[in-house]
């Protein structure tokens, strides 16, 4: 995805390298932005900002590994998206009810879905649910860390996650019905 010499070229400020970086990483980072931003337009805006920051701060990145560089960019994208929606999470917090449903996903059903279907499911989650779900299920943050990051209570993070799971399960059910039909 990112060539090893690209990082050095970026550090030198080569304009073509920046374009190469955008072409190489934008589709993946757009996925990240779509998950954490509240709309497709917002995601586009977040992604643009993330690249601008990458360009400006690339000199501060001292690693050499493309993997680490991508992780760094991803982190910037996530932080930006969450920062922009921070106020929104607090509003969501007050409207959420405790959710008692905790039925596990059926791994077999999930495996049967292709990536696009799975990501569309995640994208379709309401704001607040989606971010918490992604941070917990994909990034591996604890509810306490999510709570710190989003400025909400850990219990709220937990309830949002459960709510998100419930919504996903319902959507998966609908897909199953649709497939059966």
């Amino acid at each position: 995805m990112i060539q090893s010499n690209l990082i050095n070229r970026l550090r030198k400020g080569e304009e073509p390298a920046f374009k190469e970086l955008v072409l190489a990483t934008s589709s993946r980072l757009m996925t990240v932005a779509r998950v954490y931003a509240d709309s497709a337009e917002d995601a586009q805006d977040v992604l643009q900002d993330a690249y601008v920051i990458c360009f400006e701060k690339v000199a501060t990145f001292s690693g050499e590994e493309p993997k680490a560089f991508y992780a760094w960019m991803k982190k910037i994208t996530i932080n930006l998206a969450l920062y922009k929606n921070r106020k929104k999470y607090k509003k969501v917090e007050t409207s959420l009810d405790a959710v008692g449903i905790d039925r596990a996903f059926d791994a077999q059903i999930l495996s049967s879905l292709n990536r696009k279907e799975l990501m569309e499911l995640i994208f379709s989650l309401p704001d607040g649910y989606r971010q918490v779900f992604a941070l917990f299920a994909i990034e591996g943050f604890s509810h306490k860390e999510i709570a710190d990051r989003l400025g909400i209570k850990a219990s709220t993070s937990r309830s949002q996650f459960l709510r998100a799971k419930k919504v996903l399960q319902e959507k998966i059910k609908q897909l199953e019905k649709f497939d059966v039909a």
């Binding site: 993946r28 996925t31 601008v52 501060t60 992780a71 799975l118 591996g140």
Partner: protein, 502 residues
């Protein structure tokens, strides 16, 4: 959530490509990117500095020429040698002045001859009857009646000439001419300014100034004790007519010629000495001085109010360093001096940091800037404790250009000034802190160091004519941008040094 399900989501998420209109994205990025700040390159400062130096050296050389060529005094007006008839004059012993009706009529014209016709006297002329001093006048100021047609005298001829008894005016003037023999120029009196038969006259001639000096002549015809150097310029005939003013004063009273001669000689010396001071005072030109400093500094870093600035401020403490430099100083106007030289500054600050950094499952260093929240066994990133306690060392080689104003109090002098210094080279070693509060190797940054601005207060004590003991307090600031945050490095300095006057 079962790990298997988590992995399904993670795999999907990490490998899913969302379609992006890259052209729109690139256009948006381009619009949001800050226009690159134009680097202020002070290209003009170097030629300007060079110009100042060249100008100062040029002025210094001119001053040097004048000092050597002229016996001592520089003056914008001309004073010239005049002999006049005492019969038509009245001497006022109280005021020491002469009033004469013929004075304005006295005219000396010079003409250039191809071969010197008059051999300069080899020793001081004297005459037994020279004790009669009614005719001995010191002519200090040019008279309105004196006209030089071919020679415009410059510099000053400060010497005593005595004219032997029956010497005719031509002889008198040949005495004058003797001072310019080597220029193949002689003078001849015209008009009635000098009578045919006169008692010996003692003449103190001062030929002052010129701004058009060309030739330098040493008068070897005059005895050594009276020997002075004169600078004479031959002007173009068209430009020759220049009127001078003369004020005559008697040198001494009767019957004490020998004593009075000595007095006159002393007087001449005094005049020379005073004239030296006068010249320096008027020209404001002081000799070029080489100053060498060595001292200590205090490094104080300050950052903006951002969180990064706070982190760095917490990590970096103030420190001490040392500095040294040499400077050439030239007086350009009055007490105003300009200096240029080289400064070497070394700042040492302690960098103290404790925290964590990220390694992968194999304990390999992954990235310094991953946030703590990435701590997760599933992500295979771990944090490790890390303590840094090390000196940050920065060295700068600067080209300072200074402007200072000197005030003398006896042997002491105070010299406040301002300076701006431009980096010629720089070295750094140590650590900084990045956006995530993680230490970064200072050497990995690209530094843009701007000019160093500062003010200084110099103190000096004159040890000898050429040697001065110098002290200097200076405060300077420079901005350093390491790509993350802008740092302002303040350097108060205390220097001691020596100055040598050329």
């Amino acid at each position: 959530m079962k790990k298997e399900i988590k992995n399904i989501f993670q795999d999907s998420f990490d490998s899913y490509d969302t379609s992006v209109d890259t052209q729109t994205l690139l256009a948006g990025i381009a619009a949001k990117r800050k226009p690159e700040r134009k680097k202020r390159f002070f290209w003009w400062i170097f030629p300007m500095g060079l110009l100042i130096i060249v100008g100062a050296v040029y002025l210094y050389n001119i001053a040097g020429d004048n000092t050597t060529a002229m016996s001592s005094v520089s003056n914008s007006e001309s004073e010239t040698l005049v002999v006049f008839n005492e019969n038509n004059s009245q001497f006022d012993s109280n005021s020491g002045t002469i009033s004469t009706s013929d004075f304005s009529e006295g005219t000396i014209e010079n003409e250039i001859v191809t071969t010197p016709q008059i051999t300069p006297p080899q020793k001081k002329l004297s005459h037994p009857s020279a004790s009669h001093s009614q005719d001995n006048y010191a002519i200090r100021k040019p008279s309105q009646g004196v006209k030089f047609s071919n020679i415009h005298s410059i510099g000053r001829i400060a010497q005593t000439q005595e004219v032997v008894g029956q010497q005719k005016p031509a002889a008198v003037t040949s005495e004058i001419a003797s001072t310019v023999t080597t220029t193949t120029t002689t003078t001849k009196p015209i008009g009635n300014s000098i009578p045919e038969n006169k008692e010996p006259q003692k003449i103190v001639a001062k030929t002052l100034q010129t701004n058009k000096d060309k030739r330098e002549i040493k008068n070897e015809s005059v005895p050594e004790s009276h020997q002075k150097t004169a600078v004479v310029k031959a002007q173009e005939p068209a430009a020759v007519k220049e009127e001078s003013q003369v004020i005559a004063q008697p040198i001494k009273e009767d019957n004490q010629l020998v004593d009075s001669e000595k007095k006159v000689e002393l007087s001449v010396k005094d005049q020379v000495s005073e004239a030296d001071k006068e010249k320096q005072k008027r020209s404001g030109r002081k000799p070029m001085m080489l100053k060498v400093f060595k001292g200590a500094n205090r490094s104080i870093s300050s950052f903006d109010d951002s969180s990064i600035g706070s982190q760095r401020s917490a990590a970096l403490t103030s420190g001490t360093g040392y500095s040294g430099g040499l400077q050439f100083s030239y007086n350009i106007l009055g007490n105003l001096s300009v200096g240029v030289g080289l400064d070497y500054t070394r700042s040492i600050q302690l960098f103290e940091w404790s925290g964590q950094y990220v390694v992968d499952a194999n304990d390999d260093y992954v990235g310094k800037d991953l946030p703590n929240s990435f701590e997760s066994s599933e992500f295979l990133f771990f944090e490790k404790e890390r303590n840094i306690y090390k000196d940050n060392i920065r060295s700068f080689l600067d080209l300072p250009i200074s402007l200072s104003y000197g005030m003398s109090y006896g042997k002491f002098a105070v010299e406040p000034g301002l300076f701006v210094a431009f980096k010629l080279a720089e070295w750094q070693k140590g650590y900084s802190v990045d956006n995530n509060g993680i230490p970064q190797d200072l050497g990995s940054y690209t530094y843009n160091v701007g000019p160093r601005m500062g003010a200084s207060l110099g103190l000096s004590y004159t040890i000898s004519d050429n040697l001065k003991l110098l002290g200097r307090m200076a405060v300077s600031r420079r901005k350093i941008n390491d790509g993350i945050v802008e740092e302002v490095l303040s350097l108060p300095e205390l220097n001691l040094g020596m100055g040598y006057r050329f």
